[in-house]
């Protein structure tokens, strides 16, 4: 087998994994802490990409655009929480699903109105567009490596925030005992809005990171959201650690499956049969993995402790 190709594909898998984590972590946080199902999370990811694209052209700098776009998306998340999510917390999950489904239609159409039906490509500055030479014949794309590093930093930053800071402590306490935290004089509603905004910012960041590779496009949010669901189901809804493990697992399986499954099938079936069946199987692979894991662990790999 071609090891350079394998290395590249592993890198792609990791990249997909960290991006999935950035989207899934917000979902799982919001669900774990606020018990709120947000289908529109993928739309925020898409907004991240579009806002970043516009700013890149306006400021002529991708880096500045990202720095400015992150707080913008955070504010959008905050506003979303105040006007749509907050009135629905006390309702059942069905209302969450329908309400945020409506939000998807609204956000997607607004994006359509503002940015038009075609995708927008984001040009990378030269210093990010090159290759990193690892050895004689192995070169890795700088930007992909950067995505992985930034993604992992965000992941560990989030784990640190939730587990080791005062804000994290309040968040965890607020999830298990709302009255208690309110009694401490903390405004629980602001706290929840901050959690929501953090989740939105992370999703938006994922959109900003992927856009230079795939371009910002209208359908991107709805494509990523289901995979993010698979990630948090496999990881255990509410668990940030579970989301990280599951995201990397799903990212690698999906990427490597698409790249190598036909070669693998050729070992024991005819070339034609392998080329026909491999795409079908690999497109289903993550769902099959999900089904397999759920039949043994119905609450995911890292089910959060009951509260």
């Amino acid at each position: 087998m071609d090891y350079t190709l394998l290395l590249i594909q592993v890198l792609n898998g990791l990249q997909l994994g960290v991006l999935l984590f950035l989207v899934a972590s917000g979902l799982t946080l919001v669900f774990g802490i606020l018990d709120f199902v947000n289908l529109a999370h993928g739309s925020i990811y898409m907004l991240g990409a579009f806002v970043c694209a516009s700013l890149t052209y306006a400021l002529d700098s991708y880096l500045l655009a990202v720095i400015l776009a992150l707080p913008i998306i955070g504010i959008i998340g905050y506003v979303f929480e105040v006007f749509l999510a907050r009135p629905l917390y006390s309702r059942d999950h069905l209302d969450h699903v329908l309400g945020t489904f409506g939000a998807i239609l609204v956000i997607d159409t607004i994006a359509h109105l503002i940015w038009g039906p075609a995708g927008i490509a984001i040009p990378l500055p030269n210093y990010l567009d090159g290759q990193i030479k690892i050895s004689e014949n192995i070169e890795l794309p700088t930007f992909r490596v950067l995505i992985i590093i930034v993604g992992l930093l965000a992941a560990f930053g989030l784990l640190w925030l939730v587990n080791f800071t005062r804000l994290g402590m309040l968040i965890r306490a607020g999830a298990s005992n709302r009255t208690m935290v309110s009694a401490l004089g903390i405004d629980i509603r602001t706290l929840f809005a901050i959690v929501f905004a953090i989740g939105a910012t992370l999703a938006g960041m994922a959109g900003m990171l992927i856009a230079p590779i795939t371009e910002a496009s209208l359908g991107m949010g709805n494509n990523v959201i289901i995979t993010a669901f698979v990630v948090i189901i496999v990881g255990g809804i509410g668990s940030v650690k579970g989301a990280l493990v599951a995201a990397l697992l799903i990212g690698l399986i999906d990427t490597l499956g698409r790249a190598f499954l036909d070669d693998f099938f050729k070992i024991f079936m005819s070339t034609a049969a392998a080329e026909n069946s491999a795409p079908a199987i690999s497109s289903m692979s993550i769902y099959l993995i999900m089904a397999l894991i759920l039949s043994f662990k119905p609450n995911g790999l890292f089910p959060p402790r009951l509260r």
Partner: protein, 315 residues
């Protein structure tokens, strides 16, 4: 215990008569609209069985519509172009049988896993499995992949010609009445009583000696099969099937119909489908961005109205 009250009878009668009248005076558009409405309403009736009566919030029921439509398209495709001889046919009964078998099997296999979970897990997993079906059909080049599959010949059923729009409508309409009646019957039966018991208090039903998982699975399969049948009609109506029909936003629209019409009512899914089809038609004739007002309406309904349209009628 009455199946249909006078007002509801009037609505059904208008749904039957007016589209045909309009068609006779040259406005065939309304006949098409009514046919589509009936087909979507059948799917909503199927979804209502588990969502409304059983409390299982499935966000993946568009998959069954797609499976049913491909059960028409794939045999017809092979009949025309060869390959897979055992499948190749235009016989409508075979199409229906395949649709029932496939959607029943899909419901069984996914249900076995989905129904082990509850609440949000269930919503997301049903969604994920329908997306699996979506990507499966995208990946099969032979059936058009992303671009979809044109169904060149409609299902052939003795004495019925589905190429005739009026007959197509009548078949859809009578199927709708049949399934509304069937689901009404089921919900009034022992099984229906048990299903509402499960929706209300699952733990108590277990302690009363019911195998809750099994009963939910049966309802889940029934519901899938009804939507699969709706898919057969949809395939015949549009003569085209693409993975886009399975997309989860389609499932969301089905849910919208059931909820808006009022869950756990006989007429609810029909009301919901009427409102949805009219909204879609009216809004999309005003603007191509009709999803914007539709989405705002959905949010408004969720935030401010509960119980759905059917509750307005029963008052």
């Amino acid at each position: 215990m009455q199946f249909i009250k006078p007002l509801k009878f009037f609505i059904l009668a208008s749904l039957l008569v007016f589209p045909i009248l309009f068609n006779q005076i040259g406005m065939s558009f309304y006949l098409d609209l009514a046919t589509r409405l009936c087909i979507l309403a059948i799917a909503a009736v199927g979804l209502n069985l588990i969502l409304g009566y059983g409390g299982m919030i499935s966000f993946g029921h568009a998959a069954y519509l797609g499976l049913g439509a491909y059960a028409v398209g794939i045999p017809a495709h092979h009949w025309l172009y060869g390959g897979l001889d055992f499948l190749a046919t235009t016989n409508g009964f075979v199409h229906i049988l395949i649709a029932i078998a496939i959607s029943g099997l899909f419901a069984l296999l996914t249900g076995l896993i989905c129904l082990k979970t509850k609440g949000v897990y269930f919503i997301m997993i049903t969604m994920a499995f329908s997306q699996m079906a979506y990507y499966l059909f995208v990946s099969i080049e032979e059936y058009g992949g992303d671009d979809g599959l044109v169904i060149n010949t409609r299902s052939e059923i003795p004495l019925i010609n589905l190429d005739d729009p009026i007959q197509m409508f009548l078949v859809s309409f009578s199927s709708l009445i049949f399934f509304m009646w069937l689901v009404h019957l089921i919900t009034k039966s022992n099984f229906g009583l048990i299903l509402s018991g499960i929706k209300d208090n699952e733990a108590r039903m277990v302690s009363l000696g019911y195998n809750v998982y099994f009963h939910k699975l049966i309802a889940f399969i029934f519901s899938g099969i009804i939507c699969g049948f709706a898919g057969v009609l949809l395939g015949n109506f549009t003569t085209f099937i693409s993975p886009e029909m399975i997309d989860w936003s389609r499932s969301g629209e089905l849910m919208f119909m059931v909820i808006l019409g009022g869950v756990a009512t006989v007429m609810g899914p029909l009301f919901g489908a009427i409102v949805f089809v009219i909204l879609e038609e009216v809004l999309s004739s005003i603007t191509i961005y009709w999803h914007l007002p539709f989405g705002l309406l959905l949010i408004t309904v969720v935030l401010f109205f509960r119980g759905g349209l059917s509750s307005l009628f029963s008052k």
